[in-house]
């Protein structure tokens, strides 16, 4: 055996998972096609971390993740760009206001610190926001943001320091399962273990098929951008759930070092793994952001990029044991792999190492691969 566990994918989920497995003393081998950690969609994430979800299982995972991001610098000394600025979903239509307010009781019940606020509060929170038609919004002050890249490399360094082996620039081409032993074949070699975890992000379905499971994970693509840095002028992630021609919601926040990072969800969704930038994105998102907050007009856009949301039909991940014995998956993060990663990684590591908590079992029970993918998460 080359390892106790082989993790396929050194991204937002695979890297913290490898860290927790190594911490538990498991020999862990991580295989990734990229040149270093997080080169798939982790680095395309904009960095928002919220427990503000509609689904209690996600709230639980993200509360765990938040604790990891919040305390990382304190515990490990290095900055991952954490800033606890909160999340604010703003409402300009009665429908959105109603939906946001309707979720608050169950969110609070799941342990979330969240409130509904009037326009005056929101205008103080987001100074300069367009007051016309503003009905108010939510604010969850414990949410925050961090650098996906810095976090992923920090998890990678810690995992490697604890003994995990990372193989980069290796493409998995096939997986054999004989007598409870998985042989993972890549373009460079083959590796064996009794446990394998699919953390393959956009490629989750292909990897799943190699062990005979059809995981309903279909990536769609979203574009994002970052501006020049300026002195801090607001704190929360601002989310506008309104629809407009060509886009549904969009959101932005000011990163730890001053840049504003923004992202828009195309409407209809663009299915596929195309990472190439389109000309439609900037005019679309800029018009919406400047309309919401006119003084953003002077902020200079520095770079744009496109990344994938590996979606499941109901907007919730697949997490836990899937298919044959020894096969696990942490996939279908629906664009939330970065914020779910440490929580999902630690829960799965506890399951693999035989010490799941009651909450872990609740969470993974609702994130089973063979569930009915019927309803859709409200704050997907």
């Amino acid at each position: 055996m080359n390892a106790d566990v082989i993790v396929i994918g050194a991204g937002s989920v695979g890297t913290p998972l490898a860290m927790y497995l190594s911490e538990a003393g498991f020999r862990t081998l991580v295989i990734d096609a990229g040149a270093s950690a997080g080169q798939g969609n982790n680095k395309c994430a904009i960095g928002g971390i919220r427990a503000t979800h509609g689904d209690p299982a996600k709230v639980a995972l993200c509360l765990d993740s938040l604790a990891v991001f919040r305390t990382w610098q304190e515990e490990h000394g290095e900055s991952i760009g954490w800033h606890q600025g909160g999340y604010s979903f703003v409402a300009y239509t009665p429908e959105i206001a109603g939906s946001l307010r309707g979720m608050i009781p169950s969110q609070r019940q799941a342990g979330l610190d969240i409130d509904w606020h009037d326009p005056a509060f929101i205008r103080e929170l987001i100074p300069g926001i367009n007051p016309e038609g503003l009905l108010g919004g939510t604010f969850s002050p414990k949410d925050g943001s961090a650098s996906p890249m810095k976090s992923c490399y920090a998890f990678h360094a810690r995992a490697a320091g604890m003994g995990a082996r990372f193989l980069f620039r290796e493409n998995v081409v096939g997986i054999d399962n004989r007598a409870g032993v998985y042989t993972v074949r890549t373009n460079r070699g083959s590796y064996q273990s009794r446990v394998m975890v699919n953390c393959a992000g956009s490629s989750a379905r292909e990897i799943g098929l190699m062990v005979g499971i059809d995981l309903p994970v279909v990536p769609d693509s979203h574009e994002a951008g970052i501006t020049e840095p300026v002195r801090r002028f607001f704190h929360p992630m601002v989310v506008d759930l309104r629809r407009a021609p060509g886009s549904s919601n969009y959101y932005f926040y000011q990163y730890d070092s001053g840049q504003v990072v923004f992202c828009v969800s195309p409407d209809p969704l663009i299915t596929g793994t195309d990472h190439r930038e389109t000309s439609a994105f900037l005019p679309q998102v800029a018009a919406r952001m400047v309309d919401l907050w006119p003084s953003l007009a002077n902020l200079k856009v520095r770079r744009t990029w496109r990344g994938c949301y590996p979606q499941t039909p109901d907007g919730s991940p697949i997490l836990g044991q899937v298919g044959p014995e020894g096969s696990y998956a942490a996939v279908g993060m629906c664009g939330q792999g970065f914020m779910l990663g440490p929580g999902a990684g630690s829960a799965l590591a506890r399951l693999i190492t035989g010490r799941p908590t009651a909450t872990d079992l609740m969470v993974m029970g609702s994130m089973r691969a063979d569930r009915e993918f019927g309803s859709t998460e409200a704050l997907k």
Binding site: V230, R231, S279, L296, N298
Partner: protein, 691 residues
């Protein structure tokens, strides 16, 4: 109005003129010229420090003067803007940028909503290659959109006050670059289907086949049938301690300040790099009345043409071959540089350090093609070509020719009636691209009678104006018609056209007819007359700058038909007359080093990413820890995340990787992303409050 920080008289360039306006720099009122770039207005006041970096408080100043690097950002009317591409307006309030800027809350500019446009051919860059290509395509009646980020066409031609090499019939050899730009623009104006967009920056090539262009009035999304990238080149740099001090510039930035805006940006200059760019930069500095303390070249011989290097030496500038600059010194701005001898592997030789007091260091260590739009376009399946420096670094004469060839090829494809490229074009293009070739023995004639030219030119270079200018056809070559070294055969009538036309200033005329013991030597003169007084004696040198003795100034006359060059007649002793090739314009004493070399920092302290202030040492440490992905280096150090988009640091980081002995193919490069330059969100939103 006169201002000390401006060049009030120049031997080649007219004063820029324009309307004087008032502006405020850190609340003090200054005059400036309306429409000039704010950076130049600020330089003219004598200011060199544009702010301090948020990370370490290091002083920031001009570096590229080309809208790329963002080092010149100032707070202009409340908003942080790149001052080298922001035109000055009456009453502007300009402040240094201390740390991070505030979110600008000043009222927004008005922009039109984004527009979508289709065209036959989009040509990016209206320099020599782009204009020549657009001329060919426009001649075929096809629609051409030619875009350039500057406010006038010509690219770097507008900075080239010197006469061009090449061949007269193919690329206007012997004519100054500034004039060639006007000629090319004139021929474009004759084609009704050529649309020239100035002050328009290409921001990105997108996967949907659209090229995003920032026009002054709004965003244009252009879908071309063919793309031709003639975006030229960007300057390479070298990492050494102090390399980001204000006063250390790319040679292009210096030429922009001096030759485009006539700003007296320096008084004492050192040049790093003995290629044509560095040599010409030194010449332009001398013409602008500045002292050139020396030129350092790492190789054993200057990479530029020998005639260029020789002419600089003759003027009194030492060229230190097998030397490099190992440190720039100064607090808020450059005060000195330290030079060190290097071995053939370019390693410094300890104990050879010398320091020189200078206020400017020109870094001219080569160019890289600006070809990223082409690379992206090909990746996205678009039909895209390259021409000029964007394809292969060479002289502007070669760029014009390659643009013409590429333009004709595209015209033939889209308008089949167009006649194909003449068969000899590609051969000529190759010749114009050739760097300096072998150097033949130099032997000035022994004649002591009559009148004749002396050709102080012994290197095979693509240049032939002396041959084509002689009315009696007495200058020819036994070598290649363009590359061959010129040779004179008897019969000179003393017309002095060869003296006036030579781009290398390497032809003199010796006339023994009036006084065989004290013949008249005519040398070309492209400096201010203030340096000469009729009747006084001046130091004269041989072809490579060795002082031969003195000569008496008889007078300076214009050379009809050769604007800018004048002819200086000197009375010279017949013993040295045939060997006299030029006149010293600066005294040897101004080029001396300081008594003792200054303390230098370690090479690990050199900043490789100037936007984010990342040192070579930080990069080296990560490489030694096994990092082999430049994206990993970027995430850990922020090198490459800055405003310039990795344009400056990429090659420097690559040089650190090489210096660690790591093969290039083991390291994954930066991921390329749009935008090419930073642009306000309000611009893309296409709306504004004050129309």
């Amino acid at each position: 109005m006169k201002q000390d920080g401006r060049i009030s008289s120049h031997p080649i360039l007219p004063s820029p003129g324009g309307k004087w306006v008032r502006f405020y720099f850190n609340d003090t009122e200054y005059p400036g010229i309306e429409g000039e770039m704010v950076s130049s207005s600020v330089f003219a006041t004598g200011q060199r420090v544009f702010g301090h970096h948020p990370k370490d408080g290091s002083p920031q100043g001009m570096f590229c003067a080309n809208g790329q690097c963002s080092q010149c950002t100032l707070v202009i009317d409340g908003v942080a803007r790149k001052s080298c591409i922001t035109p000055l307006r009456e009453g502007m309030r300009v402040c240094t940028l201390e740390g991070l800027p505030e979110l600008g809350t000043a009222s927004r500019e008005f922009f039109k909503p984004p527009v979508s446009i289709e065209t036959d051919v989009l040509v990016i860059g209206a320099g020599p290659a782009g204009m020549a290509a657009a001329d060919e395509i426009g001649r075929a009646g096809l629609g051409v959109l030619l875009v350039d980020d500057k406010d006038r066409p010509g690219g770097k031609l507008v900075l080239q006050t010197h006469k061009f090499f090449g061949s007269v019939s193919d690329c206007h050899a012997g004519t100054r670059g500034v004039r060639i730009a006007e000629m090319l623009a004139g021929s474009l104006a004759a084609h009704p289907t050529v649309d020239l967009w100035l002050s328009s920056t290409v921001l990105a090539v997108f996967s949907d086949g659209v090229v995003g262009i920032q026009r002054p009035d709004g965003y244009a999304m252009v879908r071309p049938r063919r793309l031709l990238v003639t975006a030229g080149a960007r300057e390479k740099s070298l990492p050494f301690p102090g390399c980001t001090l204000p006063g250390v510039y790319g040679a292009g930035a210096f030429q922009t300040l001096v030759n485009r805006d006539l700003i007296r940006c320096s008084s004492r200059i050192f040049v790093l790099g003995g290629g044509n760019v560095g040599l010409i930069g030194a010449y332009h500095a001398l013409q602008a009345g500045m002292t050139v303390v020396g030129i350092a070249e790492g190789a054993a011989r200057c990479g530029g043409y020998k005639v260029h290097a020789d002419k600089i030496r003759r003027m009194g500038v030492p060229i230190y071959t097998r030397h490099s600059v190992i440190s720039a010194h100064g607090g808020e701005k450059l005060e000195a540089v330290t030079l060190c001898a290097v071995d053939p592997a370019f390693r410094s030789i300890p104990g050879t350090e010398r320091s020189f007091a200078v206020d400017t260091l020109l870094v001219a260590v080569g160019l890289n093609p600006v070809n990223e739009f082409h690379t992206r376009a090909v990746e996205f399946g678009m039909d895209s070509r390259l021409a000029g420096d964007a394809e292969e670094i060479a002289e502007a004469s070669a760029a014009m020719f390659s643009g013409r060839i590429r333009g004709r090829e595209i015209a033939c494809e889209l308008a089949p009636a167009t006649s194909a490229c003449p068969v000899d074009w590609s051969g000529k293009a190759e010749i114009l691209k050739s760097p300096g070739g072998s150097v033949l023995p130099y032997s000035p004639p022994d004649l002591r009678s009559g009148v004749f030219p002396v050709l102080h030119c012994t290197q095979e270079i693509p240049c032939n104006p002396c041959m084509t200018s002689c009315p009696k056809d007495l200058i020819g070559t036994s070598g290649h018609p363009i590359l061959g070294v010129p040779e004179y055969s008897e019969g000179c009538i003393g017309c002095r056209k060869c003296v006036a036309v030579c781009p290398g200033l390497a032809v003199t005329l010796v006339d023994y007819r009036r006084d065989p013991l004290n013949p008249t030597v005519t040398v070309p003169w492209e400096f201010s007359d203030d340096l000469l007084k009729t009747g006084e004696s001046v130091e004269v040198t041989d072809w490579e700058g060795e002082v031969l003795g003195r000569g008496k100034v008889l007078g300076v006359k214009p050379a009809p038909g050769y604007p800018g060059t004048r002819l200086l007649d000197l009375l010279i002793d017949s013993l040295i007359a045939n060997r006299v090739a030029g006149v010293r314009v600066q005294a040897a004493s101004v080029t001396l080093p300081l008594e003792k070399p200054l303390e230098t920092l370690l090479s690990d302290d050199a900043v490789v990413c100037r936007c984010e202030r990342v040192t070579a040492g930080e990069i080296r440490k990560l490489l030694r820890n096994g990092v082999r992905d430049m994206n990993h280096l970027k995430a850990m150090t922020r090198a490459g995340f800055g405003a310039c988009g990795g344009k400056t640091c990429r090659t420097l980081i690559e040089s650190v990787i090489r210096s660690e002995g790591i093969p290039q193919d083991e390291v994954t490069g930066f991921t390329e992303r749009p935008l090419f330059t930073e642009v306000e969100l309000g611009f893309f939103a296409g709306q504004g409050e004050d129309a």
